[in-house]
Symmetry: C2
Subunit: 523 residues, 2 copies
């Protein structure tokens, strides 16, 4: 009878063309011994796919079984969000002392906002560079202790073919002292789908990407085989996150954006097939894609960080000709895998340092579209912190695209409901409580009420247009009153380029906290 | 006897190798007829050199003589600041209805903060692109009515050799319907000093700059000769702005930065000759350069927007090997012009779209160093608005470098004086009243008190370090008290990733307004 290890080797052999690794094959629980409290650990994965799974889960089981909650904690580095069954279970077990540069887990978010787990969010394009430069792990002279990398195939030279994402996996593999490979046999090999570019110190070469389909790198990640301490089989494929269909608000926003694009084409400021699109995740982003799929635009291209469900039908019809991303983030992977040969030629997966590189975003003229928490009258946006203090997920790649794109668009509902008031939260405010995108970055703000094209306008003009076009009708008078009051008070003193009254500037937020609505009795 | 025009032609001939322009030679006052109220006018120039002079002055004289103040107003587009004798005289005569993307005039600043003159500041790298794309002048379908360009020589093909700056002159020349050339014979021809790259629609080619000295463009700006409506001689050369010598605060800041660099080299995070330096303008920036000139570092290079006085002695000694900039902004130009052949090979002047291009800044690993108005504990900075409402000059290029550099450093005094209190304004605050650089951009904050290296730290860790290292001693307890209060209040509610108490967050600013100091009696 075959031993367990031998059985594992048999099933792995078809995906592993580098024989020396076969001697490293072991079970996930055998890797627990490599991990010590306080280690710096890197995971493959991005938003949340291609992430390390069976080894993190084995570690959670070990902690739970031995009641080691809070006693085996790691500094966790992973390019984007991961799954609830791996990272958020670590959080539940208080196994994460630090996390960079993003997270999306319910338990993890709680720990972060209680100050138990430390986190810092960073531009998605910058994180892998700063990690590679040694900035995050200065106290150990840079680098990581262990990387856990999910691969879908291992090539003859021991290099790794990743799965449905790249994220920061390249840089994490480069700087880790030791590597554990999770070879995933439950999903197809993604050989040929990636464009791997390595981290390097400045000055680096120009990134010679001149269209979304340009290829500048390799198809697998070359690693030093002597770093590999274990190879485990994984047959886990987490289900995708369900996406709600577009509601009336999202559909109205999408309509305004399509109209805007049509006018820009008419005015000669956009070509007929637009410029490459970037689209954040979520309900509104999906509605915008649906809107574009039903629009007269053709031969569209995508240069984004996440390829989403709504893009598949656009690839089917040829409306979308090509997509460059760092991850395939789908609600259902069945359709992709069943038609893998069809889709394979229509997308490419790159490191997040490349998908989000200011250099490429700007050169290609990418149109950035993302959803903030709140925006202010003058065109600043808060994408991360409720009331300026409570972290949601992190800035992600939004400002890579908004800061550098040809057109920088942000979209959100004009108001959100509270328990007390169906429009208790205005998303258009005097001042944002936290600023992630500045007035110097953004061009266009869209809500279901309308589209405010802020290009070329001075602050007071922007504020008037924002109130007129984007604010919820129930807040228009209130915001106008504030603006007029602020203009009067500051310009009379010769101090009113961007009029604000500091003692009133967060009054709407304070009213929400005490009375459950931003609708004020008076200013 | 020669006519005035003939005399002018005689003196211009040595600088103008394109004969057809000689028929366009006229006096500055003869150009007044080309200007109508409401026109969109572009000027050459940047920070403040190479700017249009004799034509704007002739227009001012015309307005003053004919009492047309407020009746002949223009939308003025110029890449950076200009001089007090041209732009600020326009402002004094109420001749500027709009200004993008920066200004530095005393009269102009007043008008802007009274709401009489409209302005919007924009990242220096983005402004010429958005102007070229037609975003600023959408209502006329893009473009400009007239460009006034200062040149130091005209070549055989009618192309223009600029002077001591490039700024946005390339794009302004490209999109203007008509061009007036001010041929400046008072300063040397800068032929060979420029690297001209033209504005274009996406996708554009990679900017193949791989070291500060890389040359990718042409030495002169090609224009359509049929656009040229006048050529006037200029022999004006405005004196440079005097720079105060480094005081104790600036010297202390410079010392901290040099120490930091030495440690980064030791740790292997910087090469021995550092990476190319960018340095903002002003007293502190000059002190930092002086500090580097007296440091053990050698073979330094500069990739910046403004080449400053303190760099000349560094070029003399070879401490600095090469400087790339968009302008030579000196207090005294005599030394430069007297040794022009020596300096000519050691610098290159490029369009601001190139000097400040995120693509190049990031590739070269530029070290960005700029001075904000105020910073907050969490690492956001305000570079533009006093009290969040009063415009100083504009964001300039600070965030092109801070957002994209290898190391993003901001430096300021820990406190400034008020009439009532020698340290009445703390530059380290709970929250900035306006945010131009975000926590996601900045790595290091330095004051004369010390250097806070924020890399890899979570928000609360950053705040503690900022208070410990950078705050003025007289504010440390006050800031600590706020931080501890904010942590307690927000983390107990599970909302304290970046603890803030909105109703107290600007209390120090409010105290300053009412009591003349940020030193509080109590929170």
């Amino acid at each position: 009878m075959l031993s367990s290890a031998a059985r594992s080797i048999a099933s792995l052999k078809s995906r592993c063309a580098y024989a020396p690794y076969l001697s490293k094959v072991c079970k996930p629980e055998d890797t627990v011994k490599f991990f010590k409290d306080g280690m710096n650990v890197g995971w493959s994965g991005f938003t949340p796919v291609g992430d390390a799974k069976v080894v993190p889960i084995a570690l959670s089981e070990y902690v739970e079984k031995n009641h080691l909650q809070g006693k085996l904690r790691f500094n966790l580095f992973c390019g984007g969000s991961t799954g609830s069954k791996n990272e958020d279970r670590w959080a539940k077990n208080n196994m994460i002392s630090r996390r960079y540069p993003y997270q999306s887990g319910k338990n993890h978010r709680k720990l972060i906002n209680k100050g138990i787990s430390l986190m810092a969010d960073k531009h998605i394009s910058m994180f892998p560079q700063d990690l590679f430069y040694g900035f995050y792990t200065k106290s150990r002279g840079g680098g990581l202790d262990i990387a856990i990398i999910e691969a879908t195939e291992i090539l003859e030279d021991g290099s790794l073919v990743l799965g449905a994402s790249v994220g920061s996996t390249t840089e994490i593999s480069q700087i880790a002292d030791k590597i554990i490979i999770e070879l995933n046999t439950a999903i197809p090999s993604f050989k040929g789908c990636h464009d791997i570019v390595y981290g390097c110190k400045p000055p680096y070469k120009p990134l010679n990407i001149t269209s979304p389909g340009s290829r500048i790198g390799e198809i697998s990640i070359k690693i030093d085989p002597s770093k590999v301490i274990a190879v485990v089989e994984s047959n886990l494929s987490f289900p995708g996150l369900p996406i709600a269909g577009p509601d009336a608000t999202a559909t109205a926003i999408a309509g305004h954006i399509v109209d805007f694009f049509q006018n820009e084409v008419k005015q000669g400021r956009l070509p007929e097939n637009l410029y490459p699109l970037q689209s954040g995740v979520g309900n509104i982003a999906n509605a915008v894609l649906h809107g574009l799929n039903n629009s007269p635009f053709n031969n569209l291209a995508v240069y984004t960080e996440v390829l989403q469900d709504a893009m598949l039908p656009m690839l089917d019809t040829g409306k979308l000709t090509f997509a460059s991303a760092s991850a395939l983030t789908l609600a259902q992977y069945d359709k992709l895998y069943q038609n893998f040969d069809f889709y394979k030629d229509k997308f490419i997966l790159r490191p997040q340092a490349i998908t989000n590189a200011p250099e490429v975003v700007r050169r290609l003229g990418v149109i950035g579209m993302n959803t903030p928490v709140e925006v202010d009258m003058y065109g600043h946006a808060n994408s991360t912190h409720i009331n300026g203090t409570q972290m949601i997920n992190g800035i992600g790649g939004s400002n890579d695209f908004e800061r550098n794109g040809y057109l920088s668009i942000m979209h959100c509902p004009s108001a959100r409901k509270t328990k007390k008031d169906p429009t208790g939260i205005s998303c258009i405010l005097p001042m944002c409580t936290h600023i992630d995108q500045t007035e110097h970055d953004l061009d266009v703000i869209v809500t279901e009420q309308g589209l405010a094209d802020l290009r070329g306008l001075a602050p007071v003009e922007r504020a008037r247009l924002m109130i007129e076009k984007a604010a919820h009708p129930s807040y228009k008078d209130q915001l106008r009153e504030y603006l007029n009051m602020a203009i009067k008070e500051t310009q009379s003193k010769g101090a009113g380029h961007e009029p604000q009254i500091l003692e009133k500037v967060f009054k709407m937020h304070e009213n929400l906290a005490t009375k459950g609505t931003m609708h004020l009795d008076s200013w």
